[in-house]
């Protein structure tokens, strides 16, 4: 090959190469264009496919989001109905007693009212006779004067008696009216309670209206509902993730509490892979506790991770809840025991270390020893129950993660589609660029060709003019 290259001078090779490139110009152009078009079309096809997938995923996300929102709204509406039902049941169950009490109080008030009515005193029949006697003209007659004096005294006495009787009657009426006061107050209080309940039901009804409106929007699949649900899912995702991180911290503390004493139970030298069996055992205990917590929450219908448990009948569900709770309690007690064991082991370690260092071995029962022991035991017992509540953020996390992952995937697919389109266009433009570069390399033969073509055309036109 080298000999072949050296057989001719370099400029000759160059000229030959130019000639070859010039001769092959059209096929090479076609080849470059074909290749560019092939890449362009392939990438566009890919971009279209990805865009289609993104569209389908978006539709799917929309369906999932609406379904989740519908389910959540149904749960809210159901819960509000439950509350209203409980209020109504509670209040309506007491309604006959309330009605009877109100009737009794009204009857008492009515009776007292009737009895307290003021009866005007009857005018005396003989007052007219007295008036006639008083109008006798012989006023200077001493007999008449005595009679009139006597009558006057009698009248005075009668008046005093009547006034006394009236006062007595008025006092009795006041007493009756006074006795009505507690009844009025009791009625007022009862009616106030009824009013409060009615207002509560009305406010719940308003909340319910809000939920129903939202539910209707979700049912219609409106964009507003979709935006709200999407935003709600994102915030739920981050909140749940935050709480789960806290829960993981709790689980880690729990793990450290029991991992050390677990070596006493399963040995400290056995390994599965690169993990100690004691560590794995401690982890399994914590995971079992979390699982039991999930079951308890599920049986209480606080979460809905397992439809099978929700579908169980109430009696069986309750039994299952108690079984899970009993296991959780047992494991929490075991953890408390292990935490106690950990403290003992630590004290032993300290004692042995002190002995090996040649120092004085401190008595294990120091004044503050019980505080750390009690704290560790308390944590060992309480943390499993605290981890039970992980079920709630876990459910939220799983539910919202579906939406978030869907959104992320949609975004990635859209980005991929755009990139593929850009690459397709770039491939097409690169084809044109390569053709131009090719022409630049063989610019000299092209220039000669152009010159020749012009000369031939001009010659041909001159011949044509002469012939004409």
């Amino acid at each position: 090959m080298t000999q072949l290259l050296e057989s001719l001078p370099l400029w000759l090779w160059f000229v030959l190469a130019l000639a070859a490139l010039f001769v092959a110009r059209n096929p090479v152009h076609q080849g470059i264009f074909s290749l560019a078009r092939f890449f362009h079309q392939s990438l566009r096809l890919g971009a279209n496919a990805v865009a289609g997938a993104e569209q389908r995923l978006q539709e799917r996300n929309r369906e999932v989001l609406l379904a989740a929102g519908r389910e959540a709204a149904e749960r809210h509406v159901e819960r509000e109905f439950d509350r209203i039902e409980q209020t109504m049941k509670k209040e309506l169950a007491q309604y006959p007693a309330l009605h009877r009490r109100l009737c009794e109080q009204l009857t008492v008030i009515d009776e007292d009212y009737v009895r307290s009515a003021e009866v005007p005193p009857e005018p005396t029949n003989w007052s007219k006779a007295i008036k006639a006697v008083a109008e006798i003209p012989a006023k200077s007659d001493p007999v008449v004067g005595d009679v009139l004096e006597t009558i006057h005294h009698s009248m005075r006495k009668a008046e005093a008696k009547a006034l006394e009787a009236y006062r007595e009657s008025a006092r009795e009426r006041h007493q009756l009216l006074k006795r009505m006061m507690p009844n009025w107050r009791s009625m007022l209080s009862t009616l106030g309670r009824v009013n409060k309940n009615v207002e509560s039901v009305l406010s719940r009804a308003k909340v319910l209206d809000g939920y129903m409106e939202r539910y209707e929007e979700i049912q219609q699949g409106s964009d507003r509902a979709l935006r709200m649900l999407s935003s709600s899912s994102l915030s739920q995702f981050f909140i749940a993730a935050f709480v789960l991180v806290i829960a993981v911290g709790g689980a880690l503390i729990n793990f450290h509490l029991i991992a050390r004493p677990m070596t006493e139970m399963v040995g400290g030298t056995s390994y599965i892979g690169s993990f100690k069996v004691a560590d794995i055992s401690a982890l399994v205990i914590i995971l079992v506790e979390i699982t039991m917590g999930l079951f308890v929450m599920e049986c209480l219908r606080i979460t809905r991770l397992f439809p099978v448990i929700s579908a169980l009948n109430d009696k069986l569900r309750l039994r299952m809840m108690w079984a899970a709770f009993a296991l959780l309690f047992f494991l929490a007690s075991v953890e408390a025991g292990l935490a106690f064991m950990r403290e003992i082991l630590m004290q032993e370690d300290l004692a042995v270390s002190a002995q090996l260092r040649g120092g004085e071995v401190e008595a294990a029962t120091s004044d503050v020893y019980w505080i750390t022991t009690a704290a560790q035991m308390g944590m060992g017992f309480i943390l499993p129950f605290a981890l039970t509540f992980v079920a709630i953020p876990l459910e939220n996390f799983i539910a919202s993660a579906r939406t978030v992952i869907g959104l992320l995937t949609t975004f990635l697919l859209r980005a991929l589609s755009v990139i593929l389109r850009l690459c397709g266009t770039a491939a097409l433009r690169t084809g044109s660029l390569l053709v131009r570069l090719y022409d630049i390399v063989i610019f000299f033969p092209l220039w000669l060709e152009q010159k020749y073509t012009r000369w031939r055309n001009s010659t041909a036109s001159a011949v044509a003019v002469e012939e004409a």
């Binding site: 050390r260 070596t263 006493e264 040995g267 400290g268 030298t269 056995s270 390994y271 599965i272 892979g273 690169s274 082991l345 032993e348 370690d349 004692a351 042995v352 270390s353 002995q355 090996l356 260092r357 040649g358």
Partner: protein
């Protein structure tokens, strides 16, 4: 469906088996040789300090033995105390306490030996640790490294120290070393080349305040 499930189980089992692999020994074995020849017995307190430190670093499943270097060290009788710690940490602590008491007895009862058979001690250490098969093998040599073999004892035996870490501790200078330091340096160099040619790893730690360098 069943076929797919079976495939899944097979793949999962294969992955699990691959993850488990060959069981790896994670424990360590430490064999400590203590020179009891001549005036070096005065250094036994320091040796006890090293033993206590090593005991504190031992974990369940580890093996620890202390043997003396005297006229003829290639003997089980030279092993003054040995223990393989139990799986349970509480039992391990008790074993450490018992071991420490044995060492105290050894320190109290040791008499100076006439010769220093370090090679015999090394052979015994290699044999002991190979038998125990720990994950990491360490031989601590608490000596001035001045070997004196009694006439008639053959110690021209090749050492097989592959996978062994040898740490020379408290290599004190002898009177003659002070006159000619090359003697001391030459002694150290001889031992290093001897150990490394036998496949072992060699270190010297003279500063007993930094005992954390002894064990990895």
């Amino acid at each position: 469906m069943i076929i797919r499930l079976s495939k899944l189980i097979i793949i999962a089992s294969a992955a699990l088996l691959t993850a488990c692999g060959e069981p790896v020994a994670r424990n360590q074995g430490v064999y400590m040789l203590i020179d009891t020849s001549g005036t070096y017995t005065q250094e036994l307190d320091k040796a006890q300090q090293v033993i206590n430190y090593t005991l504190a670093k031992m974990n369940p499943g580890d093996t620890f033995a202390v043997a003396s270097i005297n006229t003829g060290s290639f003997s089980e009788k030279n092993i003054k105390a040995k223990v393989t710690f139990d799986d349970r940490p509480s039992v391990t602590n008790k074993q450490k306490q018992a071991f420490q008491q044995s060492i105290q007895q050894f320190v109290d009862e040791t008499r100076p030996a006439a010769y220093t058979d370090i090679t015999g001690g090394l052979l015994q250490a290699v044999e002991f640790l190979n038998e125990k098969q720990p994950g990491r093998k360490t031989i601590l040599i608490f000596s001035d490294l001045k070997e004196e073999i009694k006439a008639g004892y053959n110690r021209d035996v090749p050492l097989q120290l592959d996978g062994f870490n040898l740490v020379a501790l408290n290599v004190t200078k002898l009177g003659s070393d002070n006159i000619d330091p090359n003697e001391y340096l030459g002694r150290l160099q001889d031992w290093q080349s001897k150990v490394e040619q036998s496949g072992g790893d060699w270190r010297v730690v003279n500063d007993l305040e930094r005992l954390e360098k002894i064990l990895p």
